[in-house]
């Protein structure tokens, strides 16, 4: 399950840990949108701020870079595609393909902005408990009529709770089938069915038992509200972030 827990919440006592989750959500949205309008200088500032925030909340530079191992392939893909497909002054030419100065510039900008969005998301995830995220969802959706906020929050926690259980079970099922030589079957439709059917059947059986167990614990959608509290630090941080964003957009 290492792949699941790698980017989870890490307990800590940094400023980011202490902020109210609702404010952090606002920051997440603000910074993500601002980065769309940002260019070199502003992007450098944002990167510095975010990396500093991440390191302050207990992540080493090495593990920040490590997070980008998988994303970097996708970023490289976007960069190359941009560099090749934007018209402009040619830097290098190779048969039918040509790399343009504008392409390189726009490619770099887009990738950099994505990096900002990812870093923002990362600092949110690392410093916020899943239960706080759930509470924030409930709080945000509550004012909307026709949206069952409590049910959505419950569904989210059930999903997160059962994801590792289902992955373990899928691996077990796959191993058991491998032990009986399913790899000799070349027909992929057969193999998808043979893995899918037992996996889903057991998932539904589990769901039935779970529903009964929840019933036995008096499940109701009318339940205790989560606690969320904001303090002076949150408002100070909000002012800071808003100012930063305004400066970047107007620049």
């Amino acid at each position: 399950m290492a792949e699941l827990s790698a980017f989870n919440f890490r307990p800590g006592s940094s400023v980011l840990h202490g902020l109210d989750v609702r404010f952090k959500l606002i920051f997440l949205v603000l910074i993500s949108f601002t980065s769309l309008k940002a260019y070199t200088v502003a992007l450098s500032v944002l990167t510095l701020v975010l990396v500093a925030a991440l390191m302050h909340s207990g992540l080493s530079l090495k593990s920040i870079l490590k997070t980008f191992r998988y994303v970097s392939v996708l970023l490289a893909f976007i960069f190359i595609a941009r560099a090749l497909s934007t018209p402009g002054s040619v830097v290098a030419e190779f048969k039918a393909i040509s790399i343009t100065r504008e392409g390189i510039y726009y490619g770099a900008m887009i990738c950099w902005r994505l990096v900002i969005v990812i870093l923002t998301g990362l600092s949110f995830v690392l410093t916020t408990r899943p239960s706080e995220i759930k509470a924030a969802v409930e709080w945000t959706l509550n004012p909307f009529p026709f949206i069952p906020a409590k049910r959505i929050a419950t569904m989210m926690s059930l999903m997160v709770r059962f994801l590792p259980v289902i992955i373990d079970q899928a691996k077990e099922t796959a191993d058991a089938q491998r032990a009986r030589g399913i790899e000799n079957r070349k027909n992929p439709v057969y193999r998808l069915g043979k893995l899918g059917i037992p996996l889903m059947r057991r998932t539904f059986e589990r769901a039935d038992k779970l529903a009964v167990a929840m019933e036995a614990r008096c499940y109701s959608e009318n339940r205790t509200d989560p606690v969320l509290s904001s303090g002076i630090m949150d408002w100070i941080a909000l002012c800071g972030v808003v100012c930063l964003c305004l400066v970047i957009i107007s620049a």
Binding site: S131, D168, A213, M214, A216, T224
Partner: protein, 249 residues
């Protein structure tokens, strides 16, 4: 005082098969009852009537004098049920969240929810695991977490469906110790089992079920010799003519 009174209880499933037939049973507050029987003898069906997960086709089930069907939420709060497979009972992403699930359903105050969570985690000895993810716990710990989730609702009766299935030896000891201390603290305990070895030394009363009927209902020592006729293995010590010993010794 009789905390559970079952009168002429029969249950037929939707497809017409008979689950329970004419059950009469009264259980006094504070007793430790073991319900034994083969798989399919109706143990789980009977237990699910106690908190209204199943409702009688005919007959009544009363908790402290009040019929279960009159107030299901009250019944579920009063009779806490620990299911056979803790993995399909645990709801929360962390130990703490899971224990809070029941009290939250009862719309208790946040401070009261917190108080109950800490108190019950202390009772089952899982305080250090507060923020742990449930699927990383050991078998015995998971079962204790399931018990904590039930205890947080402050039930009077605790119902265990096969409490020791697929537990290792330390797991069995942990859970057994827990059950016994809950019994000592005044809870009424009902445990369903097909294998008596692990619990019988502590039970006050043994109820044997077969094909949806209660066939025997006595103190354990009186019944030990007759068990095999009902498809239940006689505990080892009793077979060898010795006195049944607790698993904790």
């Amino acid at each position: 005082m009789n905390i559970i009174e079952i009168e002429n209880l029969s249950h037929y499933f939707a497809d017409g098969t008979c689950g329970l037939e004419n059950i009469n049973l009264t259980i006094e507050e504070g007793t430790f009852v073991v319900i034994a029987g083969q798989n399919g003898s109706g143990k789980t069906t009977l237990l699910k009537h106690l908190n209204g997960l199943l409702l009688p086709t005919t007959g009544t089930v009363r908790l402290a004098g009040v019929p279960v069907s009159e107030n299901l939420v009250k019944a579920r709060q009063m009779v806490g049920m620990v299911f056979q497979d803790p993995d399909s009972q645990i709801v929360g992403e962390t130990v703490c969240d899971d224990v809070a699930f029941g009290p939250e359903n009862l719309c208790l105050d946040r401070s009261e929810v917190k108080r109950r969570v800490y108190r019950t985690l202390k009772v089952v000895g899982l305080l250090d695991f507060e923020d742990q993810k449930p699927h990383l716990l050991s078998g015995g710990e998971k079962r204790r977490l399931a018990i904590a989730g039930i205890l947080a609702m402050e039930p009077k009766v605790l119902v265990f469906d096969e409490p020791f299935s697929s537990l290792d030896y330390p797991g069995v000891k942990q859970v057994l110790k827990q059950i016994i201390s809950l019994h000592r603290s005044g809870h009424t305990i009902l445990a369903a089992a097909h294998d008596l070895e692990k619990v019988i030394a502590h039970a006050d009363r043994l109820v044997i079920m077969k094909d949806g009927k209660v066939v025997k209902d006595e103190t354990p020592s009186q019944l030990l010799g007759e068990l095999e006729a009902f498809g239940i293995r006689e505990p080892c010590a009793s077979r060898l003519g010795m006195e049944v010993q607790s698993w904790l010794n």
